[in-house]
Amino acid sequence: MPSGRREQVEDGQTVMDAARKVGVEIESLCGGRQSCHKCRVIVEEGHFDKHAISSSSKHLSSPTNNEITLLKKLGTPEQRLSCDAQIHGDLLITIPESSQAKKQIIRKKVTNRDVVIDPVIKQYYVTVRDAQLGVHRGDWGRLQDALETQWDLVDLSIDIHALRKLQAALRTENWSVTAIVWNNREVIDVQPGHKDSMYGLAVDVGSTTVAGYLCDLQSGNILATEALMNPQVSYGEDLMSRISFVINRADGLHLMNTAIIDSINELANRTAKLARIHPRRIHDIVLVGNTTMTHIFLGINPREIGGAPFALANRDAIDIKARDLGLRLNPGAYAHVLPSQAGHVGADNVAVLVAEQPQCLDSIILTVDIGTNAEIVLTSSKWMFSASSPTGPAFEGGQITSGMRAAPGAIERVRIDPKTKLPRFRVIGESCWSDQWQHRDNECADTKPSHLASGICGSGIIEAVAELFLAGILFPDGKFNPDIDCNAMYWDQEKRKGAYILATEDQSFSGNPILITQQDIRNIQLAKAALYAGAKLLMMRAKVEHLDQVILAGAFGSYIDPKHAMVLGLIPDCKIENVHAVGNAAGDGARIALLNRQKRAHAQDIAEQISYIETALDPDFQTEFVSAMHLPHQYDSFHNLGGILENSAVVTKVPRRTRRRRRTANN
């Protein structure tokens, strides 16, 4: 492997499992069902002195018919799907660049928002009467008396871990202690003497990224921020694959639960280290995530949300001892999980609303959080509607021929000259546009320049399709315009199927051109139509025709250019200056709920009051979905694009689509 790692593995283990065991992540979109091809690996043949092994593809189980067909189709019959190939002997495996699950660039940063600091845990410094012979009240009884007389706290209970520490704590600083009280109900920790620092952790468990924010609960300041890849990715890329993994494997839930709990502990450790505190001093944690994630980290089988009617085990907010989840924070600490809305609109979306509060403004606001599932919320001060739309993995680079995650080397910006029809692009990790690359070639003659393109990420594909449309290369129905013939256009012999060459051989890392195929365009059309149709159905339900504002939540939303999103018809018409990206609002919402207990009650209100619409069951869904497949839309107009469409090279009229013969006067 390029990692150079080696390991003895059990006979019959798949290459993918073995790679995981040695800490190398192989990309997997389908969860090991041999239907995607992202996990392809190369078997090195022959004897390798360095490793003292003879590697041969014969040491792998023979491929299934399915695998053979798939690999043939891809033109790489010599490679293997690592999820299928089982190890039966010595092997040297190379994982090609395209199959490596990379660390994503999307780093969830938190914006600063004004939050009233009113955490759910509070510190009370008390002096307790000392123990005396003949008084049998007990130390806990004496602490209760002190908390009542000095702080008016009544009916308290005490966590067993706090109780175990109590006697020593009382006697260390001459009967004065600081009690940490949760929700004015339970003493969760006692510390000798006067202490005035408290820490809490807010965690957003995303399907791909897990982000943690360590906060000072007195100042509200963020002391440290860390993000990790969600390790469940290697069990299945999308949510449904992960639910299948739980259903199909007896130990599936255990594996994924352990993986995510380990990650959260890792986040706690890392952030605590950055803040120079011990993780045991974290006394509160707030967790958000989509419904599948919350089920899994709570150790609840997500089977039921894998299919209609998508029943949640629990919709409401819950408080549970963090230690019961396996979290190694302060042993008395509670974990608070924000409420969900419905089957596939989870606590992360509630957190977005807690952070952004669109429902508190007197305007019509569409909030969308784009991922494999897009959560769509339409609000005014009077009502809240939400929906979930299955956009699929296209915006994350899945189902796109050269698609990849937003990692270094991914094309993220695209411009196409409307006259020459030729592209220029920019990749992540490189500030120069591709048309300015030439000067640099001499500098690094020996090695490949770092800026070469490896693939296209979500924001890149959105811009590419919008630009292709603006340049008249795509018809509004999404078909490549057969009248276009330029160096960047590739046609098959019959001139039936086209593809656009976004990066040439010289510009690409692999040496193969990076293409956008007709099928890629179709997949983007499906994804954007699902999102648009969802938004439109909510607008119809709310009986509104215009949007005052669009909020793009989620890390991905920050990278989308609003103009291109609208040209594509990803979101309905809205003033471009009123389309805002807010970054990881779910993480912000979690942090706000960590700092302010009222916000937790507020979150519960949102969950109860919002009207969830099952778009797939709406009788208008199919019509709306199909109309939204056009670029930007078959019927709806986009006034706020200010004539961009009209002044571009857009071909508005689709010629008659006949294949063999046109219906002309001569006929």
Partner: protein
């Protein structure tokens, strides 16, 4: 709309070819016009069906598979085909034209994805099958009831989720329990499926797209009639 063309001056074959092009473009009115013209020339309804509509939809299916046509266009074509079928259906029954077969189709229980399955249903109709579309979230009992009621030749099941596709096995097992598994051809489809899965659950075939579904249904019906 029809200035350039005079149907009266065209030969039968030319009109049938024109019908295929009109279907491709989703022109319902023109389809009706052509069918009426051909009927007035005593062309058998069955020939119009096969050489006009079915042949036309085949092209649509292939171009859809290759991404040359997309969902909105295929729906338009299917609508045009349907209006033609409405005109032909009573005549086909009258003339005792052969019936190709009956398909019961639906998205399995737990899954509410509708559109892809509808496209397959339309393409099968376009290929001359009688199609009973049960919609979404269909239970094994409902599938079986419809199969029995319509005396179906083919059962088509769709699932778009890896979590729901396993229900297909439940349906097939229910068919076995009823003792009718061997009386019916079971075709399955949907994004997360593949050949191995179909084989594993003992379906007769996996169909990757609407065009292949039609092709496969035709192939199995021929085998069945050859029996």
């Amino acid at each position: 709309m029809n200035d350039e063309i005079n149907l009266k001056e065209m030969g039968n074959e030319d009109i049938l070819e024109l019908m295929q092009e009109d279907l491709y473009d989703g022109y319902a009115d023109e389809i009706i016009e052509s069918i009426k013209e051909l009927l007035s020339r005593q062309i058998p309804p069955y020939d119009i069906l096969i050489k006009g509509l079915v042949a036309g939809m085949e092209v649509v299916g292939i171009d859809f598979r290759d991404g040359v046509l997309f969902v909105p266009e295929v729906l338009m074509a299917a609508k045009a085909m349907k209006s033609g079928m409405d005109l032909l259906r009573p005549l086909l029954a009258e003339t005792g034209a052969p019936i190709k077969g009956t398909v019961v189709i639906g998205t399995v229980k737990g899954d509410i994805h509708d559109i892809g399955k509808n496209l397959v249903a339309m393409m099968l109709e376009g290929a001359g099958f009688d199609v009973v579309n049960l919609g979404i979230n269909v239970s094994a009992d409902d599938f079986i009831a419809a199969i029995e009621q319509h005396n179906a030749d083919i059962l088509g099941m769709s699932a778009l989720l890896t979590t729901t596709m396993v229900y297909m096995r439940t349906v097939i097992n229910a068919l076995k329990d009823k003792g009718i598994r061997d009386d019916i051809i079971v075709l399955v489809g949907g994004a997360p499926l593949n050949d191995d899965f179909a084989e594993d659950i003992k379906a007769d075939a996996y169909c990757r797209d609407a065009a292949i579904a039609v092709e496969t249904a035709n192939k199995f019906m021929e085998l069945r009639k050859g029996k």
